[in-house]
Structure formats: structure tokens, C-alpha cells
């Protein structure tokens, strides 16, 4: 009852209950799409060169728990956007410790990593409810029509959460931004290389345009 009243009054007088100082900006996507590389790039750009949010690795499921970097402010053309950045574990439908053995990991560590990774996926899904805006990070060298991509984006649409798609790894030969645009025509798609820092400025510009403040 109180929540409904608050929601109604909030619509009438948006500033009345504006207690949230920072929006929660989530990075979502499948494993190894480059979410943590992008998180680090954003931190380096706006918090200083030495700031690193997450460790990155070519081995999938490097990020196995949700990481939060608070108080990031982006300033562009006189506008400012403040947010807490949330780097989430990659969402997958299967996790096999034997896949980690291929990366020369020992069996014990591989099993541990697989166990943590399953928990990470659950945690990432639970955090969907907390997001105010999401950058879905996709590997532009991969087929975009995966069920994980469709499920993530479908869930965000169901929750009315603004979505921006970062088509990452454009520095690689097989990158296909047009393929991602064709798969998700409803959403702005920005081709970037988080690793090289290419076109990340356009990502920031687009972020301003999709977040209603």
C-alpha cells in the first residue's frame, strides 16, 4: 500500500522521493564477452589510470561474484551521469569443470572454479532486479542468436530496464556488429573494443541518451 502510494506520488512529483543518488548500471552478458575488461576501462577513464575493478582472463568465468564500484561520474558536454557500476558473472546454461582443464588448470582448481561459477550465475540473475540500466556486453565475433542473449535481453525488457548493447571485440577480424544490430534491432548497439579502448566514448554518449534522468 505504502509502496503504491510512494510510486504514485513519485510519478506526480519526481523529486519528492529522489533518494537514490546514483543509478545502478549493470554489465551483463555471456562469459568471456569482455564485461570485466569494459568495467576496468570505465574505471580507468573516470576514476584514474590505476583503478582496476575486476581481474580479466581468457579462461571463462573469471568473474564469479558480483563486483560493485561505487560513485563513478561521467561528464560529457556539460552533462553529468553518476552511477554505481556492477560487473556481473557471465550467464551460462552449462558449466563443466572439464572445460577448465583445457586451460591447463588442475582438477581441484577446475572443480572449485566450476562450483563458484554456478553460484556466480545465480547471483547475477538475482541482481537483475536491482538494476536501473544495463549494458549488455556481447562478443561481436560470436553468433548473437544464443538463447542466453535472448533470455537476458527479454528479462530486461520485461522489467522495463533501459538497455544498451556493447558489441565488443571489434578489434578482431571476425567482428560482426551488423549481425548484432540485425539480431536486436530494438536496442542501440555500439561497436567497441574494451581491450583497446576503441569507440568507448560513443558508448558513454549513448549511455546519456538512454538513461532518463
Amino acid at each position: 500500500m505504502m509502496n503504491n502510494l510512494k510510486s504514485f506520488l513519485n510519478k506526480l512529483m519526481p523529486s519528492l522521493f529522489k533518494t537514490k543518488k546514483h543509478i545502478k548500471l549493470g554489465l551483463y552478458g555471456p562469459p568471456n564477452a569482455g564485461k570485466s575488461t569494459l568495467a576496468n576501462k570505465i574505471c580507468q577513464d573516470w576514476l584514474g589510470e590505476d583503478t582496476k575493478m575486476s581481474s580479466v582472463s581468457e579462461i571463462p568465468h573469471e568473474t564469479r561474484e558480483v563486483k560493485v564500484q561505487e560513485n563513478i561520474s561521467i561528464k560529457k558536454r556539460g552533462k553529468q551521469l553518476s552511477f554505481n557500476l556492477i560487473d556481473t558473472p557471465g550467464i551460462a546454461t552449462k558449466i563443466d569443470y572439464e572445460d577448465f582443464l583445457k586451460h591447463k588448470m588442475n582438477k581441484k582448481l577446475a572443480k572449485e572454479r566450476a562450483k563458484e561459477a554456478t553460484k556466480g550465475v545465480i547471483e547475477a540473475i538475482k541482481w537483475l532486479d536491482n538494476m536501473d540500466c544495463v549494458i549488455v556486453v556481447l562478443d561481436s565475433t560470436m553468433n548473437p542468436y544464443s538463447q542466453v542473449n535472448i533470455t537476458i535481453i527479454g528479462n530486461l525488457a520485461a522489467r522495463n530496464i533501459p538497455v544498451l548493447i556493447a558489441a565488443n571485440k571489434t578489434d578482431l577480424k571476425k567482428a560482426n556488429i551488423k549481425g548484432i544490430e540485425a539480431a536486436f534491432p530494438q536496442y542501440p548497439v555500439v561497436g567497441i573494443s574494451a581491450h583497446k579502448g576503441t569507440n568507448v566514448d560513443e558508448l558513454y554518449e549513448t549511455l546519456f541518451s538512454i538513461i532518463k534522468r
Partner: protein, 123 residues
């Protein structure tokens, strides 16, 4: 040998989300590939992933999942809107394929075709 089990929509339509997911996972964990009429709602799809992750074990590595849906709309944007609407609402149109990850290696979907790759047991 691959075993497919068809699940018509009327078998799940009156079930709660939790029971739908239990039914699907029950079949998949018996190493069968589910061919379900229609699709799950978006919250059910994420709940299915969550439950799958909770149940990953030495024998059960997870699932491969794919939904095929007929598109009557020719316009790409309209097609996408239709697809997202069905993801949100759930629908008896289309077909959902869910297989155990130990049997189904990959389900590749392009807009017009679907390919299901399985593991070769002799390897």
C-alpha cells in the same frame, strides 16, 4: 541413441512456474531432449537457468536451450517486438528445445534454421 520427449503445451499450461521447471529438468536429467510446444515466460527462463546451476553436479553439467518461434511479421523490428513480447508473456506458439549439456553440445540458431550438435560418444 538420442531420445526426444515431446511436451505439449496443455501438459504444462496449468502448472505453476516451479512445477513446469521441475518437470522439464526431470526429463532432461534422464538424458532426454525435451521438445516443448510453446515457450516459457522470461522469468521462467531465468528460473530454469538458476535451478540448473543449483543442480550442476558430476553427472549433470547443465542444459542447452533454444526456442524457435514462427514469425508472421516481415519487418525485422516488428519480428523482434513479437519475439520479446513472447519472451515476456510465454506462448504456445513455437517450440522450445532443452537438452542435457552432456548430450547436446550446441544448438545453433540462425534466423531461418536450427542445428543441434551432439557429442560423439566414440570420441
Amino acid at each position: 541413441m538420442l531420445t526426444f520427449q515431446y511436451v505439449p503445451f496443455n501438459e504444462i499450461q496449468n502448472l505453476s512456474s516451479e512445477r513446469r521447471i521441475s518437470k522439464i529438468l526431470g526429463i532432461v536429467k534422464r538424458n532426454k531432449i525435451v521438445l516443448m510446444q510453446g515457450r516459457l515466460k522470461s522469468n521462467e527462463e531465468t528460473a530454469l537457468i538458476e535451478r540448473t546451476m543449483q543442480e550442476v553436479s558430476k553427472e549433470f553439467k547443465g542444459i542447452e536451450l533454444c526456442t524457435i518461434y514462427p514469425n508472421s511479421e516481415k519487418n525485422k523490428t516488428a519480428q523482434f517486438k513479437q519475439m520479446i513480447l513472447k519472451v515476456i508473456m510465454g506462448d504456445r506458439d513455437g517450440l522450445t528445445i532443452i537438452g542435457p549439456a552432456t548430450v547436446v553440445k550446441e544448438i545453433k540458431r540462425n534466423p531461418d534454421k536450427i542445428e543441434l550438435f551432439t557429442y560423439n560418444k566414440r570420441n
